[in-house]
């Protein structure tokens, strides 16, 4: 990693620093440099949304974002959704709603779908079908027909899921 600039950002509430080429994809930094393989690659060209993460609360495709653009920003991945350090391990209300409603089948689109749903709820989205469909339109799922995903997000909205503030008011950079 010598010779590469360091990039610092807040990841799931913790400050991290990576020394990698600036054009390395955020997706590869997460999966390979930081060992967070919950974020998936489905197409590598921003079509499927499987690699969706939140940057400063906005949904982005991690396959399209070079790490240099993340310096000083706040990133949330699927690994940051569940309450940290809970004993026994707990799911967030949004994750629990997906489990109950059957919103995850093969599971490969699920992390990205959860992040899009999380952004929707964080921005005040409610249990309105059309609005939910619009919010997840960038995330492809081939198993569910979307029905139970929409139901799960509506269920979470009903329960005021994940209503807490977006973690990390200040970036690590």
């Amino acid at each position: 990693m010598n010779g590469h600039a360091g990039f610092r950002f807040l990841l799931n509430g913790e400050s991290v620093e990576v020394a990698v080429p600036g054009m390395r994809r955020l997706l590869d930094v997460l999966r390979e440099d930081l060992g967070l393989s919950g974020t998936k690659e489905g197409c590598g060209e921003g079509e499927c949304g499987a690699c969706s993460v939140l940057v400063d609360g906005m949904v982005v495709d991690a396959c399209l974002v070079p790490i240099c653009q993340i310096d000083g920003h706040v990133v949330l991945t699927v690994e940051g959704l569940a309450p940290r350090g809970a004993e026994p391990a707990m799911l967030s209300p949004l994750q629990a709603a997906f489990l109950e409603a059957g919103g995850a089948q093969c599971g490969i689109c699920t992390p990205g779908m959860l992040m899009a749903a999380r952004a929707y709820l964080d921005h005040g989205g409610g249990p309105d079908e059309d609005a939910i469909r619009e919010a997840i339109a960038g995330n492809l799922c081939r198993c569910t027909g979307y029905t139970k995903i929409v139901e799960a997000i509506a269920l979470a909205a009903d329960h005021g899921a994940d209503a807490g503030p977006f973690p990390g008011a200040s970036a690590g950079g």
Partner: protein, 758 residues
């Protein structure tokens, strides 16, 4: 207008229970998806998530022509090849074949051999990092001599399989008919488009064998292919399924090829090799649904009674036979639709073209032929001036009817029930009267500028459950249930979880048989060294066929334990294990009672039982652009017994949307035998905005051959969605699209030709 979502808590989808059904296990008591928490937290490990220190990256060099002789593989001498491993066909230690039905497909095209399709694997590369690999791949040149390519299946002179079967007296049937109608129907390629691309990682074993971890439906298929290509025995060939991000048939046979490639490289490198396809490679190279041309000639009486069906099916198999013979078999057996007809002849063939091989995809030949027959019969109804609902009512199978292949449908026949349920729950007759009125108004002159037209359409379908004909009997699957010395109950099967719920329902079935909670039952990882071969995860057979085996094994295990302890299993199994140690019961498949199929005459019980489905679609067609918006779909599926309502509905909803995509937007364009739209930016599948609201009604007509009553479910909804949408488009615009997908261009062309004809 916006619709509030009905959440499971506030308004559960009704589990409709007709008189023929019994209900067990309400939704509230259902266990949650077992591996759900791992998938929801990102902890679930798919193939590309697995870390093997020191692993190299593998890549496949592929042909760029549809048909050519391979004269040489040239490595650029200016490139430093010392840090790259290259494997060609010459380095295949065993047979250079991807084991399948006909064994015609090489793992790698040999020098001097024939390239038969674009994107065919020619040689393999591995390197320590992706940059070196990419650079190396650009320095490999294939020297070839072009050969003429056959791209049109109608011009092909190579047939992989064919049938000419039926019963009755066709000419007498047509002579008795009041109306004879002919039609030709076509469907194109469809990509499975699992969101996780194909992926395999191979590790050399110290004993000279190989261990492969990957994304797949059928670990024992991959093991068999590896054994033959690498000349290994079963003990030294270990295949382990990783968490798998969707399959839909696309991970049935093709992973065998990738496993061989990864294993060849790993053995040469002496280290793990990761063979992870990107989306472009997956789309360009892996199998698709067979394109079809289906011709119908149908005779009916004036009241709509079917008296003669003459059907010709041509499937495009692509360059190698893969599973095409059995895809054709299922297409042939389903071609007439779920209808009684005394005089039937089906001639079918699957032919070779110089295009990438087509293979398994949910429905397996049935969606193509059911689109054709449903669309054709709707046109027959139109020609007779009777409603398509009444035509189906008159002809749909009832218990005791005989299929064209001599199978008496003795039980669990629910064609009429799904049809009536669909008609009633969708208010079909009323809505159809409204759309007819609107159509007549538009035709009678300008009534303001109506920009769109509403239409409603229906389809009825059936799907044979399990392997076709004598397939299950020949395979002789084995499943096991064991009680470990530590007192653990474990299910040992090769059935894979690919999203459909295997990991959840098997503990339920075994728990019920043993009288313990599902949580007390563990499911072993699909690993060929640890589980028996319970057969592939295909053909809607897992819940029905493998489910039966594990229940029978569990019952025997329970009887043995209870005989030894004299107490109920639940109270005594821990003590039994402590005293007697490990106990394992293996259960081998036995044919279903009173079923037989004669492969030579192609008659008998083609399937032990069938699932039944009806679908009603409502669409809006833009009258300027002919874009189709599918608004609402009602799916009524009869599945024997619902084992888990949420999971079962999930299968129906997902299959229905795949069928809607097949009917409307999913299309592969070819040029010179190459897929043009081989990226996800150009091959489109429905998004959440494109998807209709899907309402599911599940019916239950338990199958006596299953101790739990369950039949297959996974493929059933795939068979009926597309013809329902096409019928709805016809209802909206007044013309029939006969080729899938029903794109705006095709709708416009259809309207143009019907205007010209009138």
């Amino acid at each position: 207008m916006t619709a509030r979502v009905a959440t499971p808590r506030t308004a559960p989808t009704p589990l409709v229970v007709p008189p023929l059904a019994t209900v067990r296990g309400r939704a509230g008591a259902e266990p949650l998806r077992r591996e759900g928490p791992a998938k929801l937290t990102g902890e679930a490990l798919y193939t590309d998530d697995l870390v093997f220190p020191g692993a190299w990256y593998g890549a496949t060099v592929r042909s760029t022509e549809a048909h050519a002789r391979l004269d040489a593989i040239e490595l650029d001498p200016a490139f430093d090849w010392s840090s790259v491993v290259v494997v060609t066909a010459a380095e295949v230690p065993g047979e250079n074949v991807v084991s399948s039905i006909d064994d015609d497909q090489p793992a790698l095209v040999p020098v001097g051999g024939e390239i038969r399709h674009h994107a065919e694997p020619v040689c393999l590369l591995a390197a320590a990092d992706r940059e070196t690999l990419r650079a190396a791949r650009a320095r490999v040149r294939l020297r070839t001599t072009p050969l003429p390519a056959v791209l049109d299946p109608l011009l092909s002179e190579t047939t992989f399989a064919h049938y000419d079967v039926g019963r009755g007296d066709l000419e007498a049937g047509f002579a008795a008919a009041d109306l004879v109608l002919e039609g030709t129907y076509r469907t194109g390629h469809q990509e499975q488009l699992y969101i996780e691309n194909n992926a395999m990682i191979a590790l050399p074993r110290p004993d000279g064998g190989i261990e492969v971890h990957g994304s797949m439906q059928c670990p024992f298929y991959a093991q068999k292919a590896l054994k033959r290509a690498l000349a290994l025995d079963a003990v030294r060939t270990v295949v382990i399924q990783a968490e798998t991000g969707g399959g839909f048939g696309g991970k049935e046979e093709y992973p065998s090829m990738i496993a061989i490639h990864a294993a060849l490289l790993a053995r040469r490198c002496g280290r793990p090799v990761r063979m992870i396809y990107d989306r472009h490679e997956d789309l360009a190279a892996t199998t698709k649904r067979h394109p079809s041309i289906v011709r119908h000639r149908t005779g009916v009486l004036g009241d709509g009674t079917l008296v003669a069906q003459e059907i010709e099916i041509i499937l495009d198999g692509g360059a190698y036979s893969t599973l095409s013979p059995v895809v054709l078999s299922r297409a042939t057996l389903h071609a007439g639709g779920p209808y009684r007809c005394p005089n039937v002849r089906v001639r079918s063939r699957v032919v070779a073209t110089n295009t990438p091989p087509n293979g398994a995809f949910r429905g397996f030949g049935a969606p193509q032929v059911e689109f054709a027959v449903e669309t054709h019969l709707a046109r027959v109804a139109e020609a007779l001036g009777i409603s398509p609902l009444d035509l189906r009512r008159r002809n749909a199978y009832r218990e005791g009817d005989t299929t064209p292949f001599g199978q008496v449908l003795r039980e669990s026949v629910a064609a009429q029930e799904v049809l009536e349920q669909a008609a009633e729950a969708s208010d079909f007759a009323t809505k159809r009267a409204l759309t007819a009125h609107a159509r007549a108004e538009r035709a009678s002159g300008p009534v303001g500028r109506r920009r769109s037209a509403r239409g409603i359409g229906m389809a009825l379908g059936w799907h044979g459950n399990g392997f076709t004909g004598s397939g299950e009997a020949k395979m002789g699957s084995v499943a096991a249930v064991e009680l470990t010395a530590a007192g653990e109950i474990r299910v040992l099967i090769a059935a894979t979880e690919i999203g459909q719920g295997t990991k959840t329902i098997f503990p339920m079935l075994v728990g019920e048989a043993l009288g313990v909670a599902p949580d007390d039952v563990e499911l072993a990882r699909p690993d060929t060294s640890a589980v028996p071969d319970s057969g592939p995860t295909v053909a809607s057979r897992t819940a029905m066929v493998v489910g039966r085996l594990v229940i029978e094994a569990a019952r025997r295990l329970r009887a043995q334990v209870e005989a030894a302890t004299g107490r109920p299993f639940a109270e005594s199994y821990a003590a039994y294990a402590a005293t007697h140690g490990h106990l394992r019961v293996d259960q081998r498949f036995e044919p279903y009672p009173d079923t037989s199929f004669d492969d030579a005459t192609y008659t008998g019980d083609a399937y032990p039982v069938y699932g039944w489905a009806a679908c009603v679609a409502e669409v809006d067609v833009d009258l300027d652009t002919f874009e189709v918006a599918v608004r609402d779909v009602l799916a009524v599926d009869e599945v024997g017994r619902v084992l888990h309502r949420v999971l079962a509905e999930g299968q129906v909803e997902g299959g229905t949307l795949q069928a809607v995509g097949y009917g409307t937007i999913e299309e592969i364009k070819l040029q010179d035998g190459r897929y043009l739209n081989d990226r996800l930016s150009t091959y489109l599948i429905p998004t959440a905005l494109d998807a209709p609201r899907i309402r599911t009604v599940l019916l239950q007509a338990p199958f006596s051959g299953s101790p739990h009553g369950a039949k297959g479910l996974g493929e059933l909804p795939m068979d009926v969605g597309a013809p329902a949408v096409v019928a709805a488009i016809a209802d909206a615009v007044g013309a029939w699209v006969t080729e899938l997908p029903a794109t705006p261009e095709r709708i416009m062309a259809t309207l143009g030709s019907s205007a010209a004809a009138s």
